[in-house]
Amino acid sequence: MAVELPFEKPLVELRLKIEELKRFTEEKGIDMSEEVATLEAKVKALAEAIYRDLTPWQKVQIARHPERPTTLDYIRGLCDDFIELHGDRSFRDDAAIVGGIGRMEGIPLTLIGTQKGRDTKENIFRNFGMAHPEGYRKALRLMKQAEKFGRPIVTFIDTAGAYPGAAAEERGQGEAIARNLIEMAALTVPIVCVVTGEGGSGGALGLGVGDRLLMLEHAYYSVIAPESAAALLWKDASQGQRAADAMSITAQDLYRFGIVDEILEEPFGGAQRDPAQMIVTVKEAVLRALIELKAVSRYELPALRYEKYRKIGVFTESEAPLLAEGQERANASSNIVTR
């Protein structure tokens, strides 16, 4: 039985009822097919109603669904001959980020992404897809390698965030992400980034500076996890739903803001319902993006990337001074002697 989400409970209940009626028909020989048909129609209508108008919080739950395709599922679905490459050459191999080389429709690619596990054991090995600095450094090593050999880069983002641990801080989590941002800005090969599930803050952005940003229909991308925002705003982490609603974190929001270039449609009910179909959709979209980017010379890529990020921001610029007359700049009179 598939893992069901809380808001899918009414569907689950109806489906159980249908099972019960079917069993009753078999056991007692009483024909309940009419009742079954009615209930099945009801399930269909209800499912459509639920999935058509998913709230941001429901999308967050779908994005975190344990049965969604993982980065390695996408990579193996996109390429026939993926070779995984390990290690940052400095400290260790971080299993929360995977990467390597493969060929998609004849195009050699470097593919990198955060990797979640399927079960508890695998998740402990993958650290729930939350990378340490060495993960970001491995990713950078592979990206520089891609640049050297003129291979496009595809990144898959599905992480709650960079791991907030003591060792991660010691080894420079902030520096590792910062380094990736500035290096990715300057790479002279195309970079296509796909947010497949959770786009958790700086930990997601550390693999997310590129020429195209694609996002799955029910994925989210946020400056802070909804639960953490709720903890800060209302001192209550259980109000994640309220925060998710306030923070405009869905693919649809980001598309409207001009930050996401394309939304990739998910199978009905979410990618976890039909991983094979989802992988095909992702492959087609990545291929489309790469074909578009093929028209750009490698030396123009950083300049276009610059323009892409340059225009992000919402502010106003007034001609007149901001402060009313008589309201001097604070501390303008403070008097410190140094020289």
Partner: protein, 260 residues
């Protein structure tokens, strides 16, 4: 008169100013406003401010955000959490960005991103180095994804500065955390901090909850990140200006070694 936040000694304003707002008894570094930082760092009268009239929008219509910005503006006289401009240090021209923690904890939203990006573009235009003084709680949650994307925007600008072979010095002051640490604050050719400054990515409380352990006091201090190789020097504020001037002189135009 002020009481030292660390050792509790009573300090007179004159004494405090002479020490560039550090405690003469225990070395505690008081937080500087952007205005004060500019005053103690740049040559007198050399500062020319850029883009003073940028005000943040409210793209998410986030509860209470516009009002909070307005309150911060009224309270600080600042348009947002960074002041940018050009000036000289020891006669060497430089473009500076100076954050101010009084404005919504020095958080980075669209205005901080835009002003720093424009400042970096000005530096490229004028062919001068950039110094950014960070003091920030990180990305500004109320601007959501726009604030996260400022990390990428400033980074692409600094990548362009690097392509122009212009020096970038990052001065991380207390506290520099979150998305600011994970972007421009850690991207300097030279990263410098002041004694005792908190520098980190994840918040201490979140880490303690994750690892279910108390962290030692020195965790995420300037000295700690120096020891772990993330910054180049921890410098007392009294010596900072001279160090910056020397670094600028070592990178001055026309002074490069040109072998055949």
């Amino acid at each position: 008169m002020e009481k030292c936040k660390q050792c509790g000694q009573i300090l007179f304003a004159k004494e405090l100013d002479k020490q560039v707002k550090t405690c003469p008894h225990c070395g505690y570094h008081f937080t500087l406003t952007a205005q004060e930082r500019i005053q103690v760092t740049l040559d007198e009268g050399s500062f020319e401010e850029f883009d003073a009239n940028l005000v943040s929008g409210d793209p998410l219509h986030f509860p209470d955000y516009s009002a909070r910005v307005e309150r911060s503006r009224q309270a600080t006289g600042l348009a947002d959490a960074v002041v940018t401009g050009a000036g000289t240090i020891g006669g060497f021209p430089v473009v500076v960005g100076v954050m101010d923690s009084r404005f919504i904890m020095g958080s980075m939203g669209s205005v901080v991103g835009e002003k720093l990006t424009r400042a970096i573009e000005q530096a490229i235009e004028r062919s001068v180095p950039v110094i950014i003084f960070s003091v920030s709680g990180g990305a500004r949650m109320q601007e959501g994804i726009f604030s996260l994307m400022q990390m990428a925007k400033i980074s692409t600008a600094l990548a362009r500065l690097a392509q122009s072979r212009l020096l970038y010095i990052s001065v991380l002051t207390h506290p520099t955390t979150g998305g600011v640490t994970a972007s421009f604050a850690m991207q300097g050719d030279v990263n410098i901090s002041e004694p005792g400054a908190t520098i980190g990515f994840a918040g201490r409380r979140i880490i303690e909850q994750t690892i279910r352990q108390k962290l030692p006091d020195e965790f995420q201090t300037a000295e700690f990140v120096l020891e772990h190789g993330m910054i180049d020097q921890v410098v007392h504020r009294k010596d900072l200006r001279a160090l910056l001037a020397t670094l600028l002189s070592l990178h001055a135009k026309g002074g490069e070694w040109s072998g055949r």
